[in-house]
């Protein structure tokens, strides 16, 4: 187990190094030097050259890459010359709100998808099952922003239950938590993307488990349907969810970007969107690296967690 984790961590490190190399190459191609951002678009070539020399942008690429790596290790993601702040400070400021939105959406999607999948499996091939399967399929094919627009139209503008955008007065994750109506629509929009795929997997996993002997034994012992479903089926059928949550991180990050943009909720996604408009490549590429690290970590944690939860899974 320990050996496995160490080996996986080493592989993850190599992957992250590869990602860093690609990102550095991209950064270099898109924005070789921030000199023009600092000195202005009409700066004299001589001034640019001297600025580059002063800040080390005239060194060979490979040297620059290693100093970039060194900065990364120190969690220094560069400086946003457009927002005049270090990227790490910007991330620190926005990460909490994004994390709250994403985790709340993940939790909500699990709360909906797990019972829904089990219900569908137990009552398979009934009208209800078909209805939800169809609904999931539609939801799965729907871009999250379109769902968001529909929710805004009906729940916010027509019926006025929730505000159409998140209020500017929500500045901390705690405030967001404290005013649930403000974030209800963003959380539901983000959760809906995952509900579709989660409940599909949950349904097929529950179906597989319902066919197992241990369920038949539990029924033969005379346990009630409730006990069979909640004590025996639930725990086993949920195992694939662990892997699925680990794999859903890129989807969540992308959904996060669109949801925050749509509802004007200040988080990492909105920061990324602003940086796209500003051509603020230090912020953009730092966020891409962060996304890649989260993806790698998500896979790793999911693999380890499944082996802890399911003794049949051996890691070696």
């Amino acid at each position: 187990m320990m050996g496995y984790i160490i080996r996986r961590l080493a592989t993850a490190l190599i992957v992250v190094l590869g990602v860093a190399a690609i990102i550095f190459a991209l950064l270099h191609w898109l924005a070789p030097s921030p000199a023009y951002d600092v000195l202005g678009a009409k700066a004299q070539p001589a001034a640019v050259a001297s600025w580059n020399k002063l800040h080390g942008y005239d060194r060979p690429e490979i040297v620059q890459f290693f100093s970039y790596l060194g900065d990364l290790v120190h969690l220094n993601f560069g400086y946003s010359y457009k927002l005049s702040q270090s990227v790490s400070a910007l991330f620190k400021e926005n990460a909490g709100r994004s994390a709250y939105l994403t985790l709340a959406a993940l939790l909500l999607s699990l709360i909906i998808a797990v019972p829904l999948g089990i219900m569908q499996a137990v009552r398979r091939n009934t009208f209800g099952d078909y209805t939800f399967t169809t609904l999931n399929f539609v939801l799965y094919s729907m871009p999250s922003f379109f769902l968001g627009l529909i929710l805004i139209q009906f729940l916010a503008l027509d019926w006025g239950v929730f505000p159409p955008t998140v209020s500017d007065s929500i500045t901390t994750a705690w405030q967001a938590f404290d005013h649930p109506t403000q974030l209800a629509l963003p959380i539901v929009t983000l959760a809906a993307i995952n509900v579709a795929s989660f409940s599909r997997y949950m349904r097929s996993s529950a179906l597989d488990n319902l066919a197992q002997d241990y369920i038949r034994l539990a029924r033969a012992k005379g346990l009630s349907q409730r006990a069979v479903l909640f004590h025996h089926l639930l725990r086993n059928a949920c195992l694939p969810m662990i892997t699925l949550i680990g794999l859903s991180i890129p989807t969540l990050l992308a959904g996060n970007l669109l949801t925050e943009y749509l509802f004007n909720y200040p988080g990492l996604g909105l920061l990324f969107y602003t940086a796209l408009g500003n051509l603020d490549y230090n912020v953009l590429l730092a966020y891409v690296i962060l996304g890649a690290i989260l993806t790698v970590l998500g896979n790793l944690i999911a693999d380890v967690a499944i082996s802890i939860a399911d003794p049949r899974v051996r890691l070696d």
Binding site: P143, L149, S204, L207, D208, A211, L257, F272, V296
Partner: protein, 312 residues
């Protein structure tokens, strides 16, 4: 796919009664009831047919439609902006005074072109990459697949968006952008398929007969791995259309006055509060229905190929 309540023997009997011949012992529990299977297959096919019809409809609607209902889609008309549907304009006009119905056709053209073109690029690249890696094995395979691992851990949408800030605006550029970063899944799938295929006798036989690598890859491995590839193409098309919609919605899509459905929704988003529903729901509906149809076809194809594998 399993039918838990059905007794094992009943499943065996039904399956054995079918014309395609009895499955091997270990696979019995998958095919529980011949009736059910036939019914399900029928049901799946129907959905696939519906999906296919929808895709063909959209291709005709978007590419042939403008020939019958040609509208001005290049010159902004400030006098005709945001007209409600009715009269001359079937679906009203948008914020530039373009006929919305004609604009949906135009946006559909680019969505379909980019969807299929990007999927084609991704599939060709991924198939070759996976086939070569799987066949070469050893260090080459290791290096090639680690490259795939690295690229796969970078969230696709972010990478594409960052590049779209500099490299976007036309159909070809967007197709290349999406296609060049989504070949990783097909590469993995094909490699896995090749790894199982390369140990088969017919590959050894052709190698003994003196076939070179190129021939083995092009004539034996790729054709046999084709089922996996075909299934993946359909999902690839759906994903490419969605990614394009995301890019367009965020405003980094095609150069005005060209458009795609995502661009249109991005523009319409500002008018939701005004109640201009015709700028939101028809486009969004088309997008969802097309992606849904493509996914349906993909699902049905996968099931069809799975069934064939089971019966072998």
């Amino acid at each position: 796919m399993t039918e838990p309540e059905a007794p094992l023997l009943e499943g065996l009997g039904d399956a054995a009664g079918m014309p395609i011949g009895a499955p091997e012992g270990g696979e019995v529990q998958i095919i529980a009831s011949g009736w059910n299977l036939a019914l399900r297959e029928f049901f799946d096919n129907k959905l696939a047919v519906v999906g296919l019809v929808v895709i063909v409809f959209f291709i005709l609607f978007c590419f042939i439609g403008p020939l019958f209902d040609s509208t001005n889609q290049t010159l902004v008309n400030p006098l005709n902006t945001d007209l409600a549907p009715g009269g001359h304009y079937l679906l009203g006009t948008d914020e530039h005074g373009f006929d919305e119905f004609g604009r949906i056709m135009l946006g559909g053209q680019t969505a379909l072109e980019i969807g299929f073109f990007a999927a084609a690029i991704a599939t060709v690249l991924g198939t070759l990459w996976g086939a070569i890696a799987g066949l070469a094995g050893g260090l080459v395979d290791g290096i090639m697949m680690r490259i795939v691992d690295v690229l796969l851990s970078i969230p696709l949408l972010f990478l594409v968006l960052v590049l779209a800030t500099k490299y976007s605006g036309t159909v070809v550029r967007l197709s290349l952008l999406i296609g060049l970063f989504s070949w990783l899944i097909p590469a993995r799938l094909v490699r896995g398929e090749v790894l199982t295929l390369r140990t088969r006798d017919f590959v050894s036989a052709s190698r003994v007969m003196g076939a070179n690598r190129r021939r083995i890859v092009l004539r034996h491995l790729i054709p046999n791995a084709l089922s996996v590839v075909i299934v993946n193409v359909t999902f690839q098309v759906a994903d490419s259309i969605l990614i394009l919609a995301y890019i367009g919605f965020l405003g980094f899509g095609l150069q005005f006055p060209s458009t795609s459905w995502g661009d249109m929704l991005g523009g319409a988003q500002n008018y939701v509060t005004e109640g201009y529903w015709w700028l939101v729901y028809p486009v969004g509906g088309c997008l969802v229905v097309l992606v849904l149809a493509t996914n349906l076809v993909g699902d049905a194809l996968r099931d069809a190929f799975d069934v064939r594998l089971r019966r072998r």
